[in-house]
Symmetry: C2
Subunit: 306 residues, 2 copies
């Protein structure tokens, strides 16, 4: 399954000419997962060539305008384009009322099934054949969640020569073993997947923090993630302001990522004051080496685990 993360908007609460309001999408096979939907996200999707018609799940971290004001327009545009597939929206308590208000005051209706799932606590948010998304309570200035995308494990590497040696014929039995099923040969021998394949390969894991101060559950929540997308609104010199406003600095984001033994860190939700983000990278690099500051339309492919 191909997996690509695209940053549609990387601004803090105020957009700039270069940075649109917060939104990150994960294209995962034929599905689209969106994390936050700031104003302008629908138009950024056009430039990023993301497409409006895929299977879609939208995850909102918290009910601040800069993270959610792109949602009504996106939902409306998809209706105008006669979308048929359902859309699932996940977000804090209050998101259903927000959308109801807008549907009432703007008289728009969606043409497709829309399910709104209010998230009120940490834990499993959605679970599909290929992945699960879980939430952790983050630490902003109002109820807020960080999300973890976890791909399901893939079968371990299959060794046909081992299967043949055990008497398994090439064909259907091979396929069943590769899918993780136990089989019985005509001679009564039972063959387990583990007899002919390596241990299952871990699925890919991505963390999206939304707006938050550092929070103690982070290291466990993000443990060994392939990618951490962490907000870093202010640089270290403004740590006090970050604390008051419920945000993080590069050092804090990098320390958290290092403690989680994650592989890669991308900083986003960048305050409009940083026309040059070099200082943010420098501050983060003291604690975690593989870090970049996101720019709008940055794309990251996540390779299959070995």
């Amino acid at each position: 399954m191909t997996m690509k993360v695209t940053f549609l908007g990387t601004a803090g609460a105020i957009p700039t000419q270069k940075r649109s309001l917060p939104s990150v999408v994960l294209q995962c096979g034929n599905e689209l997962l969106m994390f936050d939907c700031g104003e302008g996200a629908q138009r950024q999707m056009l430039t990023a060539k993301v497409g409006y018609h895929k299977e879609m799940r939208i995850f909102i971290t918290h009910m601040h305008g800069d993270h959610v004001l792109g949602l009504p327009g996106l939902l409306q545009t998809m209706a105008l384009m006669d979308r048929q597939r359902g859309v699932d929206v996940y977000g804090p308590v209050g998101i259903a009322h927000f959308l109801e208000c807008l549907q009432e005051t703007l008289q728009f209706a969606v043409t497709y099934p829309m399910q709104i799932h209010e998230v009120s606590d940490a834990g499993l948010v959605c679970d599909t054949e290929n992945y699960a998304v879980t939430a952790a309570k983050s630490n902003h200035v109002l109820p807020s969640f960080a999300f973890c995308f976890q791909e399901k494990p893939r079968a371990g590497k299959f060794h046909p020569e081992k299967a043949k040696a055990l008497g398994v014929s090439v064909g259907e039995a091979f396929g069943r073993l590769q899918r993780g099923e136990t089989i019985q040969l005509p001679n009564g021998t039972v063959v387990q997947p583990s007899d002919v394949a390596d241990a299952p390969r871990k699925g890919r894991k991505i963390i999206y923090t939304g707006d938050t101060r550092p929070f103690p559950e982070f290291a466990a929540f993000a443990a060994e993630a392939d990618l951490v997308v962490h907000e870093s609104t202010f640089d270290d010199a403004l740590a006090e302001k970050a604390q008051v406003d419920g945000h993080s600095t590069p050092s804090q984001a990098a320390k958290e990522t290092a403690e989680a033994h994650a592989k890669k860190l991308v900083l986003t939700h960048i305050s409009a004051r940083y026309s040059d983000s070099t200082i943010l990278v420098e501050q983060a690099k003291k604690f975690f080496a593989d870090v970049v500051v996101a720019e709008d339309f940055l794309e990251l492919e996540l390779p299959l685990s070995e």
Copy 2:
């Protein structure tokens, strides 16, 4: 007074890579008048270098998302930037409830005085020292208004030689006559402004239609306007669809503008289907010569009348 119209967004209901959602601003001296505020308007303002801190009036033609979903984000951004000056918002009945809902569900507060004026009928909407804005009931699929910006007349050209010939001394009396006051000389002679100056010069006039089918009051409402900004969502071949959806075609917009004896026509609110707008201009030109299709960031200076 300098007067410049800037098109921030020229799309129909669905944005494109080239066209943001509907919004037009008029910079008028140190004031900013905005007509509609589609999603993304605040960011388009940055690119257009319009500025967030001017005296500002915002006029919303109707309560469809594509015309108003940029408003909450703009109001919030100006609050985050610590705007102090008041903002006046004018729009159809329902706009106050729309903003209340968003302020409640997104927990944002404005830092500046904000007056919301609900417009329920045709007539005067606002009246200032320099201009007045009036509304006409347009003909869309829900209550909708077109707006007319009318600059106040300026004093006619002053002829100092005529004043001197009548015995007026250079100085304060000159100034009073130039401002349109009648004066009396020490010898008892009464001098009228019309004795020493040409007739007052007409102020500039701009029409912004919002979404509408042609409507019978248009010709009088837009009479002799310097600029008509008219929606033209669909081309003439889709006249039937335009009628059903409450929109206009280039021919309709051009005929209306010609009947109004206006000077210039700009078509906007262009459906996403027209990647090339040549056909729209061609259809309009059959009925009105001075016509262009707006592109995002088109700027038009309106010269002072002679």
